[in-house]
C-alpha cells in the first residue's frame, strides 16, 4: 500500500484475470473480479482506496456494471465507511461503457452509483449530477495545486453559497464515495469543520 493523499492509502489493485474483450457478466473472470473487489473493500481499513485496473481489458457495459455495482452499492449504502473504489482505465476505452452500466444500475436500484475513473484524465463516471461534479472538481483542484484539503468554508467562498449549503454538497459527494473526510479542524470562535480530500 502507498499513501495517496492525506489520510488515504491505496491498496494493491484488483485486476481481471484474462485480458481482451468481456461481454458475459456471469463469466468467471467477471464474477471473480466482482468478488475480489468486494472482499478487498470489506477487509480494508478505513481510509483505503481499492483500485480496479483495466489495462488491456475491454468491458461491455453489462460487465462493467456487474463488477462495480455491488462494491459501489456498499459504498453508497454506508456499509464500508471510509473505503472507496476507483477505476484505472489507461486507454479510456471502457469509460463510456462504465458510464452507461452505472447509470443503468443507478436507475434500477434508485440510488446513484458514481466512480472516479482515471484514464488519460481523471473523471467521474456514472449517475453524477453537475453539482456533485463541480464539488469534486473544486476539491480535486485544491488538492492538485497545493496539496490542500477543502472545507465547507472554502467551498462556500468559491461558489458563493452559505456554509450550510457547502457542507451539504461536501456531505453528498462524500456519501457517493468521491470525497473522504480526512481531517477535522477547529475553527476560531469555536466548533470544528471537516477537511475533505478527493478520492482518486
Amino acid at each position: 500500500m502507498k499513501a495517496l493523499s492525506r489520510g488515504l492509502i491505496r491498496r494493491s489493485p484488483i485486476t481481471i484475470a484474462t485480458t481482451g474483450m468481456h461481454t458475459d457478466p456471469d463469466a468467471p473472470d467477471i464474477t471473480g473480479a466482482r468478488e475480489a473487489l468486494l472482499d478487498a473493500l470489506h477487509s480494508a481499513p478505513a481510509g483505503t482506496v481499492v483500485p480496479l485496473v483495466l489495462d488491456g481489458i475491454s468491458l461491455s457495459a453489462s460487465c462493467a456494471a456487474a463488477v462495480l455495482m455491488p462494491s459501489l452499492s456498499d459504498v453508497v449504502g454506508g456499509k464500508v465507511p471510509g473505503r472507496f473504489v476507483v477505476v484505472e482505465d489507461p486507454s479510456g476505452r471502457n469509460r463510456w461503457d462504465g458510464d452507461a452500466g452505472l447509470k443503468k444500475e443507478s436507475e434500477r436500484l434508485g440510488r446513484k452509483l458514481v466512480c472516479a475513473w482515471q484514464s488519460k484524465e481523471l473523471d467521474l463516471v456514472g449517475a453524477v449530477d453537475p453539482q456533485v461534479r463541480s464539488t469534486y472538481d473544486f476539491v480535486l483542484g485544491r488538492w492538485r495545486t497545493g496539496g490542500d484539503g477543502a472545507t465547507a468554508r472554502d467551498l462556500a467562498g468559491h461558489f458563493d453559497v452559505s456554509i450550510q449549503a457547502a457542507s451539504n454538497r461536501l456531505s453528498k459527494a462524500s456519501s457517493l464515495g468521491l470525497l473522504y473526510e480526512a481531517d477535522r479542524e477547529t475553527v476560531s470562535g469555536g466548533g470544528a469543520q471537516f477537511v475533505f480530500v478527493p478520492v482518486m
Partner: protein
C-alpha cells in the same frame, strides 16, 4: 407455384416484408416445392437495414429453401453496393442470380463507405474481430489516432458490442448478422447506419424464460416494456443492451428501429418518445437498425 416479390426504389428494413413474406409464410413441402423470384431490379438504394435482416431471414429458411431467383438491381451503382455489402455473395450460394455478372467479382467491403460488410456472428471470437474492424474504420472516419477513445467512438462500439452480445444470449444458437455503412445527410453531415439481425426465437420468447406471462403476450407490448424497463432474461442487473443503444442514439443525435416477431418500435432523432408500429407479419428473430451521427468529437 411461382411467387414474384419485388421492391422498388429502396431496400431497407421496412421494404423487406413485401419481399420476404411469401418466403416466410410458406412452410414445409409448400415452400420446398415453390419457386420464388426476388426482384430487386427496380432498387436504387440499399441500406444496412435491408442487408443484415435479409441475410438472417434467408438463414431462417435455409433448411427447406425453395428454388430461389434473384434479379439484381439494374442500377449499376446499386448493384455494386449489393456486392460490396456482401449480400450478393451470400445469396449466390442459395439462389440463381440474374443481371449481376459484373458485380459478382466485387469484393465485400471494397466500397469506400462500407464500414462493415455483411458479417456473420457465430461465436465470441467473431464479435472480437468485428469490433476490431469497426474500431479501425471509426478511427479513419473520425480522424482518431490508434487507441484514442473518443466519446463518439466509444458510444458506437459500446452499443454494437452490447446488442451483438445479446444475439448470443437470445438467438437460441442461430447466428447474427451485422452490416454498417457511412452516409452523408442532405445537409452534408456524416452519419453511420448499423444493422444487426438474427433469426432466433425473438425477444418475447427469449424473455418468457424469466417472465412467463410473456409466453402469450403481444410482441409489441413486450418490446415496449423491454426497452422502457430494461428487462433482461437473466437477472435484473443485466439488460444494458438497449440502455447503451439509447445512450448512443441520444448522445449522438441518432435514431433506432427494432423489430422482433410481429412487434416493432422506433425512436426518431431528437425524440424521447418510443413509437410503436402494430400489424406487422410475424417474423423469426430480431432486427435492429441504428443511425448515429459520426463526426469527430
Amino acid at each position: 407455384m411461382v411467387y414474384r416479390c419485388h421492391v422498388r426504389d429502396t431496400l431497407d428494413m421496412s421494404a423487406l416484408p413485401q419481399l420476404m413474406d411469401p418466403l416466410l409464410q410458406l412452410h414445409g413441402e409448400a415452400r420446398a416445392s415453390s419457386e420464388i423470384v426476388l426482384d430487386l431490379s427496380g432498387v436504387r438504394f440499399i441500406t444496412p437495414g435491408g442487408v443484415a435482416p435479409f441475410a438472417a431471414l434467408i438463414h431462417s429458411v435455409y433448411e427447406d429453401l425453395p428454388r430461389l431467383h434473384l434479379h439484381a438491381p439494374t442500377d449499376a451503382e446499386c448493384c455494386r453496393y449489393l456486392a460490396s455489402s456482401g449480400l450478393l455473395q451470400l445469396l449466390a450460394d442459395v439462389a440463381t442470380i440474374h443481371g449481376a455478372d459484373v458485380a459478382m467479382g466485387i469484393r465485400p467491403g471494397s466500397a469506400l463507405n462500407t464500414v462493415l460488410p455483411l458479417t456473420r456472428l457465430s461465436q465470441n471470437a467473431d464479435l472480437e474481430d468485428l469490433l476490431t474492424q469497426l474500431e479501425l474504420k471509426l478511427d479513419g472516419l473520425l480522424g482518431c489516432s490508434d487507441d484514442t477513445w473518443t466519446e463518439t467512438k466509444c458510444r458506437i462500439i459500446s452499443a454494437v458490442r452490447e446488442i451483438c452480445a445479446n444475439v448470443f444470449q437470445h438467438a437460441g444458437g442461430t447466428p447474427g448478422w451485422v452490416s454498417a455503412q457511412k452516409y452523408r445527410s442532405s445537409k452534408g453531415n456524416p452519419f453511420l447506419e448499423v444493422s444487426i439481425a438474427d433469426s432466433g426465437v425473438g425477444i418475447r420468447r427469449s424473455l418468457a424464460d424469466r417472465y412467463p406471462e410473456f409466453a402469450v403476450a403481444d410482441d409489441g407490448d413486450v418490446l415496449v416494456r423491454m426497452v422502457n424497463e430494461r428487462l433482461s432474461r437473466h437477472n435484473p442487473a443485466r439488460g444494458c443492451g438497449y440502455f447503451t443503444l439509447q445512450e448512443a442514439t441520444s448522445k449522438l443525435d441518432g435514431s433506432f428501429r427494432l423489430r422482433s416477431g410481429s412487434g416493432e418500435v422506433s425512436r426518431a432523432r431528437r425524440s424521447r418518445q418510443l413509437v410503436r408500429a402494430d400489424g406487422r407479419a410475424a417474423w423469426p428473430g430480431t432486427h435492429l437498425e441504428m443511425r448515429v451521427t459520426c463526426a469527430p468529437d
